[in-house]
Structure formats: structure tokens, C-alpha cells
């Protein structure tokens, strides 16, 4: 995986581009890593980022559970219920985007450019749909009187779901960049690292959602 990803990730994610070799001064006797690392640096970095994000969500979820378990009434009587049916559908939208992402990866690994583009765009579309539905539900909830300041019920709802929404937004932007690069035909079987890294992040975003959905909407 490692050697495949360099060029593409360097474009899309300039900050995590692997270091360039500065000089090899002709000699091969040096200890410059000649063996491939077990796992590429970019992949390692994204996994580290996800570990860190998991702690962030754990903090939020832990706080939510404390409020939830202490509260006598949940949701508090005067406040609107959360839209469960729509969100079930939306959950499937997000989860199916993980599926299309997998298919996109498969296509990339087989150098099937048209398929790759199609699945990336499908993933992007599903992600955007998810955000749009979430957004419109938020607008409705606010209109029905569920505000950030509606006690800890409103507060945790907007914070947890909002935090996830922010992550989806970031993922969608990243996906758009990857899709754009794919339009230019940048990925193929030997060079799919840029998609792999993005996919790992997207899987994370998708995997967190059912947990939040279960806790915040269903519990």
C-alpha cells in the first residue's frame, strides 16, 4: 500500500504528505529506510486521528450518559420529541454510503475508472443527503422549541449530533476533493492510497453514527 499513495495524497492532503527523501548522496550503504514500512505513514496518521476523535466522542457520550441516567424525565415533558422515523431512514442513507465507499475502493483497486467515479459520487451524494436531512430536521426542531439552551436535553442533543455533523461535513469536503482527483484519473490499482485514507475516515464517521443514533434518539 505504502508506495502507491505518495503522489495522490501529497496533492489532496498536503499536510500529511510523507516526507520527501532529501538526499541519498549516491551511497546505498546508509540506513535510509529501504524496507517498506508495515503500514503507510498517511494511513497511520489517519488512524491516530481517529483514535483521538474516539476519545472526543467518548467524552461527549460519557457526559450524555451521566445526564441521561440522572434525569427523572427524558425527554423533559415540555420539549418536542426527536424525529425517529426520518432518522431511521437517514441512518440507512449514511450506512449505505459506507457500502458505496467500499465499492469505490474495490473499483480503484481494479483500476475501473468509471465505476470508481460513479461510486465516489454516489458516496458524496449520500453524505450530502444525510447532512441535508439532518439540517432540515434541526430547523424543524428549533422551530418547535428545542433549543441549545433547552436544559441538558437540548444541549446534549445539539452538541453530540452537531459534533457528528461537523465530522460528516469535513468528510464530505474531503470526499469532494477525492472525487475531483478521481475525475482527473489520478487513482488506479497501484495508486489508491488517497482513497484508502479517505475511506478509513468515512468509515469512522459512519460507524459513530449508529451509536449516537441509538443513544440520543432511541434510548
Amino acid at each position: 500500500m505504502a508506495p502507491r499513495m505518495t503522489a495522490s495524497t501529497a496533492k489532496i492532503l498536503p499536510l500529511v504528505a510523507p516526507i520527501r527523501r532529501i538526499r541519498s548522496s549516491g551511497s546505498s550503504a546508509g540506513g535510509d529506510q529501504s524496507e517498506r514500512p508495515f503500514i503507510s505513514s498517511a494511513m497511520l496518521a489517519i488512524m491516530m486521528l481517529i483514535a483521538s476523535e474516539m476519545m472526543l466522542f467518548s467524552g461527549l457520550i460519557g457526559s450524555f450518559l451521566i445526564f441521561r441516567l440522572q434525569a427523572a424525565f427524558w425527554p423533559p415533558p415540555a420539549l418536542p420529541r426527536l424525529p425517529i422515523a426520518v432518522t431511521w431512514v437517514n441512518t440507512f442513507v449514511l450506512l449505505s454510503s459506507a457500502l458505496t465507499m467500499t465499492l469505490a475502493l474495490r473499483a480503484a483497486h481494479r483500476s475501473r475508472q468509471r465505476l470508481l467515479r460513479r461510486y465516489l459520487l454516489a458516496t458524496l451524494a449520500l453524505g450530502v443527503t444525510f447532512l441535508a436531512v439532518q439540517g432540515s430536521e434541526w430547523v424543524r426542531l428549533v422551530a418547535h422549541g428545542l433549543k441549545l439552551s433547552s436544559g441538558v436535553y437540548g444541549g446534549t442533543f445539539y452538541l453530540l449530533i452537531g459534533c457528528h455533523g461537523a465530522h460528516v461535513t469535513a468528510g464530505v469536503i474531503w470526499l469532494a476533493c477525492v472525487a475531483m482527483a478521481a475525475m482527473g484519473g489520478r487513482y488506479n490499482a497501484r495508486n489508491a492510497g488517497g482513497i484508502e485514507v479517505c475511506a478509513v475516515y468515512w468509515y469512522f464517521v459512519c460507524a459513530v453514527w449508529p451509536l449516537l443514533f441509538g443513544l440520543v434518539y432511541l434510548m
Partner: protein, 588 residues
């Protein structure tokens, strides 16, 4: 990893002066320059944090009198030079925030981490140089945000570095409005900087080690920085969560920490200390690594129990996640839970004991050279033991009920953080200065600085244990308001005078750093006859770290006085051609 084409394309960057001033000194992507930038930022911040400490010490010994020379400070910060209570609260809040987040962490993790990791593992730079640069500049922005809070109305944050809610959650409770918000924002931004740094460190250490540099051949400094990076990666997001909730309470009208809206004040403490305890080990582990490095080098002996040292650090890091409740014994937490936290806290003393005894074992039958770096490292061991042992009293729940929030805790803080972390920093600076700046530091000046610091440090902070036993609360600006504290006023005066000496002594360090930069003797490649890889390249190392190929590693980092060779050191990268093979094969 990267293709040959990439090498050719970027070959131009190899020439050291091809980059110009801005890319070389300001927006540098070279890990060595970024390390130095962290060092200078931290030293600058230390003078501000130290100045706060001096003002606090004046107030505690001579409360409500004019601080000499401060008559010009405008109201309401000071009244004709006298410090009002809210300013005092702001001072210890900023003192601790600056010292912890902008002095100790930037030097230990930012400076030593950046400077040493690639050099010691045999890499040409960090895995992600641009991310590295961004990490420094994000940290610098966080520093500016924090300092700017001195200039907003209401003054800087004044709820303690622990910012307990609800005090910190509602502006009218402290009278501080934007100061506290800026504090929150600053720490969140700093969290982003640490995140970038720690991702970089972990990736670099896992993926960029040179040939032969197996994990159990890594210098202990690198082990410590690796473990620290993992702690940073996992701990800071929790603090970010807590501070985000706090900011929403302050600005968004939520009630996460306010009981009036169904919130829970203790939640802040749980989140904060869940981060806070790993945080204190973030601040001590790299110092432990540095001390191990320096002690082995100047004892001319392998570190005693290399693997035990590495495992002990892993154990400390692991245990640090399950002890946070020891800060909350009297918070109203369930007493049974308190007992659980007491037991885990006691157990965390065990790996620290392993480290201490192994340092002693390293001295045993050594050939000890008393350089300034070695003296600071030995002081680190001695002071850390005192600080760690005061932790045992505090871990004991019934005793902590009495000494919690007294100067006993303040004594502990400074024994571990100044006596531990800062002596480790001093040892590290004096040890690696030649490599960083290409010149030797002045040994005599270094020793004078060491002795004055060592003596005045103990005179400042040891008596605080006695204050704590007498019941002297922390975070009070005028101890003379209490009858039961009146008899110990002279101790407070003694402490303050010692503290001024301690503060003034730091000018010697500053002077040494500046003087040696221009006038110090030129440093050779390996002035201390040390084994690790950073000593196999010129001082200071060129762009790309080694002028020739990166060295290959044949053995562990501490093969001092090996019977296989005549000299008393044996660099990791030295291939022994005619040996029997024993010295070459030794892997630890």
C-alpha cells in the same frame, strides 16, 4: 518509500541556504528549527509565568502592600501597586496555565520531541514536516490568545488552572468575562497543536527508524516521547470536550455544569481530571527519559534494566487513566469510589519506584562525571522522589481530606513539576545544547546556576509542606486574614525570599544560553562521547541531518564501558569489524 522522481524533484531543497530567511527561520519545516522555536517560545513564556509567581510570592508574604516597582500598573489590575484579590486569582491561574501548557509541555514535548526524535532514530526529518510547522504555529497562536487575555476588560481567567465549574461557567461568579473565554479558546487551539505534534511523533517513530533500530534499541528518551505522544493523543481530546461544554455554558446558554438547568458540576471535574492525570505524566515522562539518557552517559554505564525502564513507563501511562479520582476525594464523590481510586493511585507508585531504583543501579560501579547536565539529572531523581512521596500522603484518602487544597499540594506540584520536569529540562538543555547550537555551554556558569537553583528551590518549596500541615489553604491571597495561620507568617516570608533568589537564578540560565550561543567553545561532533545517533553528525546537524548516508544501528543505545572495546563508549552505529561478534550482536 517515495519514488526516485520525487527525490530528484526536491533535490534542490538539500542545499541549506536555498530556502531563504523565512523558510529557514520562521516557517521552517526542519524539525531542528521547529524544536528551537518551541524552546524559545517556552523560555519567553516562562519569564511571564515566573513573573506571576514572583508577584504571588510578594503578596503572600506582604499582603496588600505595594509591590516595589509596580506602582504604574493601572487599576483595576493593581491599586497603586497593591494586588487585589481578583488579580491574585488571575495570577495563579495564568501562572499555572502558562507553566504547564506553554513552558513544560512545549519544551519537553515540542522542543526535545522535535529536535531529538529524527536525530535519535536515524531519520532525515519528521514524517510530516508541514504538519510539524503547522503544529508550532498553532501553538504560538494559542500562546498569543492566552496572553491577549491580559488586555481584555475583566482581566484574564481567574478560576484556577483547573477552572472548576460552575465558578468558571458563569461570568458573574468570577467577574471575568472574555478572559475565561480566551483561556478556553487558547487551550482548545493548543490541543489542536498537540494533536498534530503527537500524530507526527508516533508516525515518525513507528515508520521512520533507520535500519537496525528496533524498538528495544530505541534510546529511553524516544521511548518516553513515544509514550507521551500516545497519552497526548488520547488525553487532550477529553479536555477539548470539557472545554467545549464549558464554552457552550458561557456563550451558548446551555446548562451542562449548572444545576439550575439539570447540569452536573462534578462532571467538569471528572472530565478535567480524566485528562489531568495523564497530563501530569505527559509532563514527567520525557523528563524521565532525558534523565535516563544523561545519567547513563555520564556514569559511563549501560542504563540498569533497560527493558524494565521501558515497561515501567508503559505501566505508568496505562495506570494514569484510572487514578483521576484522587483529585476528587472531598468533592462529594462516592466514598467507596474514593477507596478504589486510592488503591490505583498507590499502585502507580510501583513503576515509579522501579525507575528510581534503576537510576540508582545505573550509578552503581559507574565512573561518574559531574557535568552540569549530570548534576541537573541527579537533582531530577532526588527531587522527583520527594515529590512522588508526598503523593503517597495525598493518595491516602483520610489524610487527603485534611491536606487537600492546602500548601501540601502546592509543595507536591512544585517538587514534581519544577524539581522533576524543570530539572529534567535543565539537564536536557545543557546536554543537547552543543548539538542544537554547535557550541558548548559554559560549564562553570551552568554549575553556579545549578547550585543556586537547587538550594533556593528546596528553600522555597520544602517549607510549603509545613504550611500545608498547619492547614494553610492554597489560592488565598492573604493568609493573614486567618488567626490560625498568623503564627506561620515568618515561614511565608522565608519562602518568598527564597523564591526571589530562585527567580533571579534563572537569569543565569538565560545568560548562559545567550552567551554560549555567541561565545561558547565550538562543539565537536560528539563532545560527551555518547552512543546515540545524534552524536554521529556535525553539531549542529545540517539540513537532512546527516551529510552522508543515515547511519545503520547495530546495538542498543547504552553500550558504555563495553568489555568488547577499549574506549568506554560504543556508538550504536559503529560496526565492529574484528570483534568476536559478541559486541555486534548484543541487542539488549
Amino acid at each position: 518509500m517515495s519514488s526516485t522522481a520525487a527525490v530528484a524533484a526536491h533535490g534542490a531543497h538539500a542545499e541549506p541556504h536555498a530556502l531563504g530567511f523565512w523558510r529557514t527561520y520562521i516557517f521552517s519545516e526542519d524539525h531542528k528549527m521547529i524544536g528551537k522555536q518551541f524552546l524559545f517560545m517556552a523560555l519567553f513564556m516562562m519569564s511571564i509565568g515566573g513573573l506571576m509567581a514572583m508577584l504571588m510570592r510578594w503578596e503572600l508574604a506582604w499582603p496588600e502592600t505595594q509591590v516595589p516597582g509596580f506602582g504604574w500598573v493601572p487599576e483595576p489590575f493593581m491599586y497603586e501597586g497593591a494586588i487585589p484579590p481578583n488579580t491574585y486569582n488571575a495570577m495563579f491561574t495564568m501562572h499555572a496555565t502558562i507553566m504547564i501548557f506553554f513552558v513544560v509541555m512545549p519544551i519537553l514535548v515540542g522542543c526535545f520531541g522535535n529536535f531529538l526524535i529524527p536525530l535519535m532514530i536515524g531519520a532525515r526529518d519528521m514524517a510530516f514536516p508541514k504538519l510539524n510547522m503547522l503544529s508550532f504555529w498553532t501553538g504560538a497562536v494559542a500562546g498569543v490568545i492566552l496572553l491577549s487575555s491580559f488586555f481584555v476588560t475583566g482581566g484574564p481567567a481567574a478560576a484556577g488552572w483547573t477552572s472548576y465549574a460552575p465558578l468558571s461557567a458563569v461570568p458573574i461568579y468570577t467577574g471575568v468575562d472574555w478572559g475565561q473565554n480566551l483561556w478556553c479558546i487558547s487551550i482548545i487551539v493548543l490541543g489542536a497543536s498537540s494533536l498534530m505534534g503527537s500524530i507526527n511523533y508516533i508516525t515518525t517513530i513507528i515508520n521512520m527508524r533507520t535500519k537496525g533500530m528496533y524498538f528495544f534499541r530505541l534510546p529511553l528518551t524516544i521511548w518516553s516521547l513515544f509514550i507521551t505522544a500516545i497519552l497526548l493523543l488520547l488525553a487532550l481530546p477529553v479536555l477539548t470536550t470539557a472545554i467545549a461544554l464549558l464554552l457552550f455554558d458561557r456563550l451558548g446558554g446551555t446548562h451542562f455544569f449548572l444545576p439550575a438547568g439539570g447540569g452536573e458540576p462534578l462532571l467538569w471535574q471528572h472530565l478535567f481530571w480524566f485528562f489531568g492525570h495523564p497530563e501530569v505524566y505527559i509532563m514527567i515522562l520525557p523528563a524521565m527519559g532525558i534523565a535516563s539518557e544523561v545519567i547513563a552517559t555520564f556514569s559511563r554505564k549501560p542504563i540498569f534494566g533497560y527493558r524494565a525502564m521501558a515497561y515501567a513507563m508503559i505501566a505508568i501511562a496505562g495506570l494514569s487513566w484510572i487514578v483521576w479520582g484522587h483529585h476528587m476525594f472531598v468533592s462529594g464523590m462516592d466514598p467507596v469510589l474514593g477507596s478504589g481510586f486510592m488503591i490505583t493511585t498507590m499502585i502507580i507508585g510501583v513503576p515509579s519506584a522501579i525507575k528510581t531504583f534503576n537510576w540508582l543501579g545505573t550509578l552503581y560501579k559507574g565512573n561518574i562525571h559531574y557535568t552540569a547536565a549530570m548534576m541537573n539529572a541527579l537533582a531530577f531523581v532526588a527531587m522527583f522522589v520527594i515529590g512522588g512521596m508526598s503523593g503517597i500522603w495525598m493518595a491516602c484518602t483520610p489524610v487527603d481530606m485534611y491536606i487537600h487544597d492546602t500548601y501540601f499540594i502546592v509543595a507536591h506540584i512544585h517538587y514534581v513539576l519544577f524539581g522533576g520536569s524543570l530539572f529534567g529540562v535543565f539537564a536536557g538543555i545543557t546536554y543537547w545544547y552543543p548539538k542544537m547550537f554547535g557550541r558548548m555551554m559554559n560549564e562553570t556558569l551552568g554549575k553556579i546556576h545549578f547550585w543556586i537553583t537547587f538550594v533556593s528551590f528546596n528553600c522555597t518549596f520544602f517549607p510549603m509542606h509545613i504550611l500545608g500541615m498547619a492547614g494553610h489553604m492554597r489560592r488565598i491571597y492573604n493568609p493573614q486574614q486567618y488567626d490560625f495561620l498568623k503564627p506561620i507568617i515568618p515561614i511565608n516570608e522565608f519562602i518568598s525570599i527564597s523564591a526571589f533568589v530562585l527567580g533571579a537564578a534563572q537569569f543565569l540560565l538565560l545568560a548562559n544560553i545567550i552567551w554560549s550561543y555567541f561565545k561558547g567553545a565550538k562543539a565537536t561532533e560528539n563532545p560527551w562521547y555518547a552512543n546515540t545517533l545524534e552524536w554521529t553528525t556535525p553539531s549542529p546537524p545540517p539540513h537532512g541531518n546527516w551529510p552522508g548516508p543515515v547511519p545503520i544501528v547495530y546495538r542498543g543505545p547504552y553500550e558504555y564501558s563495553s568489555p568488547g572495546v577499549a574506549e568506554d563508549y560504543l556508538p550504536q552505529s559503529q560496526l565492529l569489524e574484528h570483534s568476536t561478534g559478541a559486541a555486534n550482536k548484543r541487542t539488549h
